[in-house]
């Protein structure tokens, strides 16, 4: 549990020449669910995209070390190989991950092929089962535009997961979904973590959402991590003013 899978050291990131993240350090332990909480513009999504090697995000200083390799200095081909097979990434827009006009099955085949794996229906059914996508045959035949946002998001999770990544990065994956669907997706994510030992980094603006599933929580504010620690500690004994404000602002039932 204590082994570090991803280590971000003194990193500074810029987007369109303007600095977004400055001098940030963060470590992710194997098998944990880490939540990064912050409001829009805090740099939380930029940070995730830097880990994925997004070309638009420029690393101006520091290093991102994944299992003893520095991602920043890595060649494009190597990074591509890492992406998908070992690091999975799910973005905010559930429709963004797929070509809307091709069947889900074709896209799954392609994804697997490009990572040198073979498509097996049994594998897929197992993963769909975890995600409560029950009528898998019908889903495979349909096209993304025919399915709801919640369904697409779950399939996107399945697509990331079928490659069995060690690390799954999720960027605001529930903000386009209804509350009930969002709750279901969160539960499934938690299941993936506890049953398969996948390390998950979840970025969200809702500290309430984080509070229910996270092992550790990092609070990001203006490109910096202002508070970082065990979930319970951050929620119960927040030290930073901004954390306190976030906790105050969440609507409670």
């Amino acid at each position: 549990m204590s082994e570090t899978i991803l280590k971000i050291q003194d990193i500074s990131l810029a987007y369109e020449e303007c600095p977004v993240v400055t001098n940030l350090s963060l470590d992710v332990k194997r098998g944990e669910l880490l939540c990064i909480v912050g409001e829009s513009g805090s740099g939380k999504s930029t940070l995730l995209r830097a880990v994925c090697g997004d070309e638009l995000v420029k690393v101006t200083a520091g290093s991102i070390i994944y299992e003893a390799c520095d991602i920043v200095g890595m060649k494009e081909a190597e990074r591509q190989k890492l992406k998908g097979t070992r690091i999975g990434y799910i973005q905010q827009n559930p429709y963004g991950a797929f070509n809307p006009l091709r069947t889900i099955e074709a896209q799954f085949r392609e994804t697997l092929k490009s990572h040198g794996k073979t498509f097996r229906r049994t594998d897929l059914r197992e993963i769909f089962g975890i995600l409560e996508l029950n009528n898998s045959d019908e889903i495979l035949k349909s096209r993304p535009y025919e399915l709801s946002g919640g369904m697409n998001q779950r399939i996107a999770i399945a697509a990331s997961f079928i490659l069995r990544p060690e690390l799954l990065l999720c960027d605001e994956i529930t903000s386009a979904l209804d509350v009930t669907t969002a709750a279901a997706v969160m539960e499934e994510l938690f299941k993936l973590k506890s049953e398969n030992g996948t390390t998950i980094v979840l970025v969200t603006h809702n500290i309430g959402q984080a509070s229910n599933i996270a092992d550790r929580i990092a609070i990001m504010y203006q490109g910096k991590i202002v508070e970082f620690g065990e979930s319970e500690k951050v929620l119960m004994h927040p030290e930073h003013e901004y954390t306190k404000k976030l906790l105050r602002d969440v609507p409670r039932l």
Partner: protein, 274 residues
């Protein structure tokens, strides 16, 4: 990152260059009278098919007319007719597009089917047929090309109107008691102007090809009026004796079309990166 910024700069520089080039073409033809010493219609029996020299920088044609002057004056016809045609198509097409997009319903269906039918025919074939029926003259050539040209403007304006119409700020204007005419004039039109105008710029090149083409076929301007297409067509007969009579108007056509086509492309790129 760095690549992206420099791309933006490159496009800006390109834009400036293209605007300067396009303007210089326009000014060259506009001030044809000042630049060219000779009268483009003055025939001269003693200097028929003279090769380019000091007096006649581009040589003379079959009737001894100065090709340099004719190219400049001819450019005036081509460019003025092109601009007028593009502007008229833009105006008509945008109005039709806005009406269709905003009100929808039966008007929209009729006009859009009409547009589909128009698009079903190749533009040049329709233009030749129409120009043939209407007879020669630059006006009929313009009408012939305009029949198909409004469609692209109408479609573009319609799709933009469609999205603007359902935008929250238009709904809000409705709650404020604004009528349709106000909403179209104040909210819809200014917001679709930029993309439709860009389309207009990209159409200039093709329209020039169309007009010159019709003139080449004898369906555009009526001789002796100078026009690049008709000049090429006339001089084609004695191309082996006086190649300059074909080469210079052709080169003028090619350069002008390239400049305006490229200007359209650069403006599109510019809107993208901005």
């Amino acid at each position: 990152m760095k690549k992206r910024i420099s791309r933006k700069k490159v496009i800006k520089i390109k834009l400036v260059i293209m605007v300067v080039l396009a303007l210089s073409v326009v000014f060259l033809t506009l001030f044809a009278g000042v630049i060219a010493k000779n009268d483009p219609y003055q025939t001269c029996a003693t200097s028929i098919r003279t090769a380019p020299c000091v007096d006649y920088p581009f040589g003379t044609d079959n009737l001894g007319r100065c090709i340099f002057a004719r190219v400049l004056y001819g450019g005036r016809t081509t460019i003025a007719a092109t601009f007028a045609l593009v502007f008229i198509s833009f105006a008509i097409g945008t109005v039709i597009g806005m009406v269709c997009g905003y009100f929808g319903g039966i008007i929209d269906r009729i006009l859009m089917r009409l547009a589909d039918i128009t698009l079903g025919f190749p533009q040049m074939v329709v233009a030749i047929a129409v120009a043939g029926i209407l007879g020669g003259g630059i006006k009929s050539a313009m009408i012939a090309l305009g029949i198909t040209m409004w469609v692209s403007f109408a479609r573009l304006a319609r799709s933009h109107t469609f999205s603007i119409r359902s935008a929250a700020f238009v709904q809000t204007a409705r709650f404020a008691g604004k009528n349709d005419a106000y909403i179209i004039m104040v909210h819809v039109f200014p917001n679709l102007l930029a993309p439709v105008l860009t389309n207009a710029l990209t159409q200039i090149g093709t329209t020039m090809i169309g007009l010159s083409g019709l003139s080449f076929l004898g369906l555009g301007v009526i001789p002796p009026a100078a026009e690049w297409g008709s000049m090429i067509s006339e001089a084609r007969a004695y191309i082996q004796i006086a190649p300059w009579a074909v080469i210079y108007p052709s080169v003028a056509t090619i350069i002008t079309i390239i400049i305006f086509n490229y200007l359209g492309d650069v403006i599109m790129d510019y809107r993208e990166v901005r």
